[in-house]
Symmetry: D3
Subunit: 289 residues, 6 copies
Amino acid sequence: MTLKLGLPKGSLEHATVDLFRRAGFLITVAERSYFPAIDDPDIECMMVRAQEMARYIEDGALDCGLTGHDWVVEGEAHVHTVSDLVYAKQSFGTVRWVLAVPNDSDIQSVKDLEGKRIATEGVGIVERWLERNGVKAEVEFSWGATEVKVPDFVDAIVDITETGSSLRANNLKIVETLMESYTKFFCSKDAWEDAWKKQKLEKIALLLKAALDADGKVLLKLNVEASNLEKVKDLLPALHSPTVNPLTDDGWYAIETVVDESVVREIIPDLKANGAEGIIEISLNKVVA
Amino acid sequence: MTLKLGLPKGSLEHATVDLFRRAGFLITVAERSYFPAIDDPDIECMMVRAQEMARYIEDGALDCGLTGHDWVVEGEAHVHTVSDLVYAKQSFGTVRWVLAVPNDSDIQSVKDLEGKRIATEGVGIVERWLERNGVKAEVEFSWGATEVKVPDFVDAIVDITETGSSLRANNLKIVETLMESYTKFFCSKDAWEDAWKKQKLEKIALLLKAALDADGKVLLKLNVEASNLEKVKDLLPALHSPTVNPLTDDGWYAIETVVDESVVREIIPDLKANGAEGIIEISLNKVVA
Amino acid sequence: MTLKLGLPKGSLEHATVDLFRRAGFLITVAERSYFPAIDDPDIECMMVRAQEMARYIEDGALDCGLTGHDWVVEGEAHVHTVSDLVYAKQSFGTVRWVLAVPNDSDIQSVKDLEGKRIATEGVGIVERWLERNGVKAEVEFSWGATEVKVPDFVDAIVDITETGSSLRANNLKIVETLMESYTKFFCSKDAWEDAWKKQKLEKIALLLKAALDADGKVLLKLNVEASNLEKVKDLLPALHSPTVNPLTDDGWYAIETVVDESVVREIIPDLKANGAEGIIEISLNKVVA
Amino acid sequence: MTLKLGLPKGSLEHATVDLFRRAGFLITVAERSYFPAIDDPDIECMMVRAQEMARYIEDGALDCGLTGHDWVVEGEAHVHTVSDLVYAKQSFGTVRWVLAVPNDSDIQSVKDLEGKRIATEGVGIVERWLERNGVKAEVEFSWGATEVKVPDFVDAIVDITETGSSLRANNLKIVETLMESYTKFFCSKDAWEDAWKKQKLEKIALLLKAALDADGKVLLKLNVEASNLEKVKDLLPALHSPTVNPLTDDGWYAIETVVDESVVREIIPDLKANGAEGIIEISLNKVVA
Amino acid sequence: MTLKLGLPKGSLEHATVDLFRRAGFLITVAERSYFPAIDDPDIECMMVRAQEMARYIEDGALDCGLTGHDWVVEGEAHVHTVSDLVYAKQSFGTVRWVLAVPNDSDIQSVKDLEGKRIATEGVGIVERWLERNGVKAEVEFSWGATEVKVPDFVDAIVDITETGSSLRANNLKIVETLMESYTKFFCSKDAWEDAWKKQKLEKIALLLKAALDADGKVLLKLNVEASNLEKVKDLLPALHSPTVNPLTDDGWYAIETVVDESVVREIIPDLKANGAEGIIEISLNKVVA
Amino acid sequence: MTLKLGLPKGSLEHATVDLFRRAGFLITVAERSYFPAIDDPDIECMMVRAQEMARYIEDGALDCGLTGHDWVVEGEAHVHTVSDLVYAKQSFGTVRWVLAVPNDSDIQSVKDLEGKRIATEGVGIVERWLERNGVKAEVEFSWGATEVKVPDFVDAIVDITETGSSLRANNLKIVETLMESYTKFFCSKDAWEDAWKKQKLEKIALLLKAALDADGKVLLKLNVEASNLEKVKDLLPALHSPTVNPLTDDGWYAIETVVDESVVREIIPDLKANGAEGIIEISLNKVVA
C-alpha cells in the first residue's frame, strides 16, 4: 500500500517542502527531478504544476496533493478536501481572482464587458462567471504576464493577486472580485473511501496543521505569587487556558501557556506590572490544541 | 512613426538582448518591467511570451518580433518572415517537436496512437498532425514538465527537444518527429507593406545577421614572399577570396582574410610550414559578406 | 500620537533590525529608503547616521533613537538615556576612542602632542580633551580611513577601535584612551515628560532588554532525587532562584532554571556528577527577570 | 595550565566548529589563519590535517584532537581515545577503507594481489594488511583522486569511501573491506595521566556528547486526564521515563518527555486519539541522559 | 624621481582602475590596502577620498590625482588641471550641485533662502554662493543621505545629482543649479613646474585620453570597386578621413576608417546598398587622432 | 592513433583550460570528472596532479602533459621537453623553492641545518640538496600548510613561493633558494620518436605558443607622412619589422606592427610627437612570428 502525493511545482515548492519538514517528513528534491524522495516508505511523491494537480487526483493517477482551491474550480474537478492550509504568517496566504482594467477605462462592472476581449490564465472560471452574469465576451488564454496586456492587446484581464501591488504598478484598477482562493490538501474520492489511505491522510493533515499552528505561537512561562494569580491569569488570552502549578516556595505558582507571538509584546509589560516574574518565551515546533 | 518590436520573454531573453547589443542596439531591461528601453527612438520594445508572439503580430498589436517558427504554426498565424536567425555556436539553435513514449511502450508510430491520451504544450500542432494521419486520440494541454507525465498520466507526449537528453533521462524514446523549428524574425503583413517599416525591418535584419555571422569568424593577417604566394593562397578556405596587397619590401605580400574560427588551428601550422610569416588572428564584431 | 524613532544607518543597521525583531517588532527596510516600515502603528521609523542622531533628538525632530554615547558627547547633546544596550555576545559592544601613532613615533602621551597635527572623525571630542590637558595642537577632520594618514599626512590620529587589529595592521600603536562608548537608547527631554511617550518608551526598552537578556541565556531542566536536591541547588547560579517541583515518582524533584549560556559548559559536568539526570538545555527568545 | 587542542583542517572543519558551538565553545576561524580563537582561556586551538593529527598528539605538540581512527592506525600512533563521536544525522559518519578494482578485473580477493601494483593514501595500513595475508605487492602513495588511477596506472586501489558512489561512478567494484573508521576524540598518554588535563578532557567529551545527543531529539509536552493517563504513558517510548505532574485543575496531569524526533510523527496522532491535549514540541540544545 | 598619484576611493574606484588598465597601466588593489601597486616604477599610488584629494595635492603630499572639479572648488585648492576626463559612455559623467526643496515649498530661488537652514556636503560652496547673492542663511554640514533631511530637519538642501531621480523619489524639486562638475586629472603647481614630472603627467594624460576615445569607436574595413568608391567615401563620417588602398584585383579598393560605434548601425546598410563588400567591424583599445 | 594528454589538476587547471581555448581547443571539464572532453578526436585528456604528471609520462601511461619543471626534478623522471610555457602576464609564472626559517632563527645557511628537522612537500629535492652540501638533517614530508609548522613542529621548512608574501605573513624569512621552476609541456621519449605523435605535439606546441605570444602583444596601426617615415620607423621596436604601405593620398604611408603591450604606453607619446596620426591599438588572439 502506498499513497501517491502530488506537491506543487513552482512558487510554492520551497514552502511546501519546508512545511513537511516541520511536520516531521524529510522531502529531498534532486535537481531536475520531478520525483522527490520522502523518508516515509508509505508515500510516493511527485512534483506537479498547481494547475494540473486536481485533474490527476480526480483521474486517480495521484491519491492526494496540495494545490489552490481556484485550480480545482477551473478544472471542475471532483475531489475531496482533507484540510485547509491557510494561516497567518504563511506562504500559503489567500489570493483573489479579480477583473482588472486600466485606470482610465470605462469598464465599471461585469456588465460592461459585453463584446470585449479578456485575457486570463483561467479560461473556464471566467467563461462560467460571464455566463452566470449573462454577458458575452471573447476570453483568451494567457501564458503569463497577463497584467501588461491591457490596453494594447485586450480590454480587460482576470488575474490572480495577493496585494494588488503588481496591478497598481501597471496602472490597473480592480473592478470586481470573482473568487478567493487558498491552498488546500485534496484527495480523490476513492482514496477517501479506502480505510488505510483515509487514516494516512488524516495523520498527514494533523501533522501539517500542528506545524502550521506552531508557526505563529510561542510558549510563555512565568512565576507569580498567589495574591497576583488571578490578575495575571486575566491578562492571558482566554482561548487557551494556561497550565497553573504550585511551587514548593510558599505561595508561588508557575504558569505556562501557549500564546500568539503577535500579542507577546503587548502582554509582557502588563504581566510584569502585575507581579509576574521570571517571564521567558520559547519557540515551538508543533502545536496540537 | 515607430516600429513595435516584441522580444521573447524567458529562456531566450538574455541571448536576444546580447544579439541586439552586438548588432548595435542597446536594450535595457528593468527588473520586473515588460517594456525594455532601446537606444533607437524609432523602436518601442515589449517582452512577450514566445507562444503568444505571433498572435499579437498578426493582430497588429506588434509590428514585428522574434519567436520560434513552431509557435507560428501552432497558432496558424498569418505573419511574414523577415529573416532566419539560426547559426552554429548560437543560443538560437534548432529544436524538434517529437512524439515520445516510454522505452517499453508498444507505440511505434503515429498509427498506434488511436484511442490513446497525449499531453503536449502545442495542442493545435498535434491535433492537425493526427488529423493528417487519420488518427483519433485525446490531446490534452500540458502546463510544462510534460516528460514526467508518461506513463502515469498519459500514454504518450509530444514535446520540444534539442538533444533528447531530458527525454532519455526520463526513460523515454523518440518515435516520430513532427516538425523542426528555429527562431525567426517575423513581422505583420501590414508592416511589410509599409515602406518606412519595411526599410527599418530590413536594416535590423541585416545588422542582426552581421553580428551572428561574426560570432564564429576571425580575421587572419599574414605576410608571404612572392614565391610562396600561390601555395599559401591555396591553403586558405575557398569561400571568401582573400585581400592580397604588395608591400614596399621587395617581393613580399600582405594577405588578409576572414575565416571560420574552427579551421584556424588546422591551417596555422600549414601556413607557417609554407612560408607565411607574421600571422596574427583578430576577433570581429560584425561581418557583412 | 506617534513616537518618532531613529535607527542607526550603517554598520549597526542589521543588528538593530534583528534586535527589534526578537523584541517583537517587525521592521522592513526597503532598499535605498530611509523610512523603514514597522508593524506598530504608534511608531514612525527613520534611518539616521549614528553621528547625527543625538543632534536631531535634541532638536525634537526625533523623539528617540539608538546611537553611541560617544556621538552624544561629540555633539554635546542634551538628551535623556532610556536604557543601555550593551551586553555580551552582542553587536552592540564597547568601543574605545584612542590616540594612535606610528610604532616608531616619539609621542608617548597627550603632552607630546603640543604643536602637532592630528586627524580624527571626532574633532570636538579631541579638542576638548586637548584643552583639558592644556595642550595646543592642530586637529583636522577626517572623512574615514584615518589610520592610513600617519605618518605621511599627520603626526597622530584619534580613532575608534574595538580590538585594535586595524591599527596594528597599519603599524600603529595605541598611546592613550580618551573615552569608552557603547550603544544606548536615547530620547528627548520633551518626550520623557510626555506621559504617553514615556510609557511607550519604557515598554520598548523593556522588550529590547528582554530580547538582549535572552541572547546569552538558556533554560536548563533536570531531575534529581531528594537526597541530592540541596547539593544540586547549590551548584546553580545564585542569581535566579530555580523552580523546584516534586514529581509523582516518590522522592524525585524536577528543577528548572534560567542560566547564562556561558556557564552551562561549567555546570553540566558538575550537575551530572552530583546525581542530576535527564538534563536538557532549551533556547530562549525573551527573558524578563 | 593550557590544553592544546587540534581541530581537523578540511572537510570536517565546519562540522567540528559547529559541534563545539552547540557544546558551548565558540571557535572563531580567521581566514587563512591556522590558529582559531576559542572562548575558553584554558584551551589553545590549532588547525591540523586529519592525517597528521595523531603524529602531533603522540609527540606532545598537541594534547588532544579530533581525527579519524584510520589515521591513528596508519601512523601507528600511541594515543588515548577519550570518546567516540559517531551518531546518526551527523557529519561524523562511518567510512570504510576498501580494496577496489575495475568491474572487469580478475582480482577477487587479497590473495590475487600478489605481484600487483596498488595506489593508496594509507601506505602503512595497506602494507601491514598485505603482510598479515602473506601477500607481496607494490604499494605506492597517492596524493588524491586515487579512484581514477585504475586501470591505467595501477592494478588496484585501497580507498576511503562512505557510500561507494564515487567508486561506482568510476566503474570500480569493491572487493574487500580492510577496516571501518569514524571520528574520535583522542589525547596523548601524558595528557591522560595529568589530573588537570584528564578532568578537562572528560568535561569536553561530556559536552560534545550532550550536543550530539540533542541533535535528533525533541521535548514533547502534553496534558491528559487521569482516566487516560496510563494509555498515554504506554504510547511514549519506554527508554526515557516521562515526567508526570498533577495540575491544579482537578484530575489533569502534565507530561513531559524527551523523544527521538523521528518517532514524533508516529505518536502525535495516537496521543491525540487517546485523549492527550495541548501537545507541543520544543527543540533541544543539549541532552544528558 | 617618482610621481605620487592619488586615486579616488569609493564609487569611482573601479572605473578608475579600469581606465588606467585600458591606458596601459596595471593597478592592483589589495583588499583593505590603501596603497595599490602599479606596474610603472616611476609612479606611487594611494587611494584618497575624492573630497580630500585636492587638499593633499595642494600640500604636495601627492603630485597629482583624479577627482571632481567640485571638490577643488569646495576646498579652494590651488591646483593645476592636466586634462578633463569627461566622455560619452563613461562612468566619468557630469554631475550638478543643485538647490532642492520639497515639492510644496515656497522657496523659488536663492533669494528665498534668507534666514533658512540648509544641509549640504559642501559647506564652502554653499556659503560663498549665498554671499555672492547677498543672502544670509544657516548652512550645516551633512554626512550623507542629505535628501531625506528636508523638511523635517532643514528647509532646503544643496546636493549632488546626476539625473535627479533620487531627489524626485524623495518628493523634492530642483530650484537652482549652483555649479556643474566632472572628473579631472589635477596636479600641484610644483609638479607642473618640474620638467620631469610635467612630461610624465602629459604622457599619462595622453594615454588616458586614448583609452577614453577608443571606448565609443570601432574600426570598419570594407572593399569597394572603383565605380562605387566616391559614393562609399561620401557615406563615411567626414571627421576622420579614411585610409584608401588599391588592391591587386583590378579596380578594387580596400577602405579602413575609425568611426563612432553609434553610427555603425546607420551606415552599414547604406554601405552595402552602395556596393561595399566584405564589411567587418573590429574593436579598438586606444585611439589617438 | 590518439595522443594521451595530461592536464594539471588544481591551481593551474583553469589557466590551462583557458590557454587551450585561446589556442583553438575547447576543453570541457565536467564537475567531479577527471576526464575532460576536448573537441579534437585525436586527443584524450586526463586531469593529473602536477606532482604525479612526470611519473606517468615516463611510464607511458600518458604521452604528454603540462607540469612544473620542479616535479620532474623531484621524481627524477626521464621525459622530453616539447616547449617552455613561461611568459610575462601569465598564470604560468616562475616559482622558487626556498629554505625558510623564523625571523629570529639562528639558521643562516644550509650549513646550519646539521641535525635539524625540516618539513617540505619535496622530500627528494631537499634530501639531494642536503647531500650535495654534505649536511645531515631530518627531512619530513608535509601535506601542506607547511609555513605554520615552524617553530612549533620543525626547525625549518623548504616551501614553494612566488612572492614570499605568505612566508612573511607567518613571520618567516627566506635563507636560501634551492631551485627555480616554471611550467613546461613534456612528452615521453617514446612519443617523441613516433612520427605521428611528434608532428601532433609540435602542432599543439605551436598553437599554445601562438596564444601565449598574443597575450602580451597588440597590433598598432598608424599613418605618417613621407618626411617623418624614417623617424617613426626608428621608434618602433626593432624585433618585428613593420608593414609599410603607401596610401593613395600623396606622400602618406600606413604602418602596421605587432608590439609588446608593455611598450605601447612608452611609444605612443613619442610616435605622436614625431608626426604619427590616426594611431589605433587592436587586441590579438594569436601571434606566430
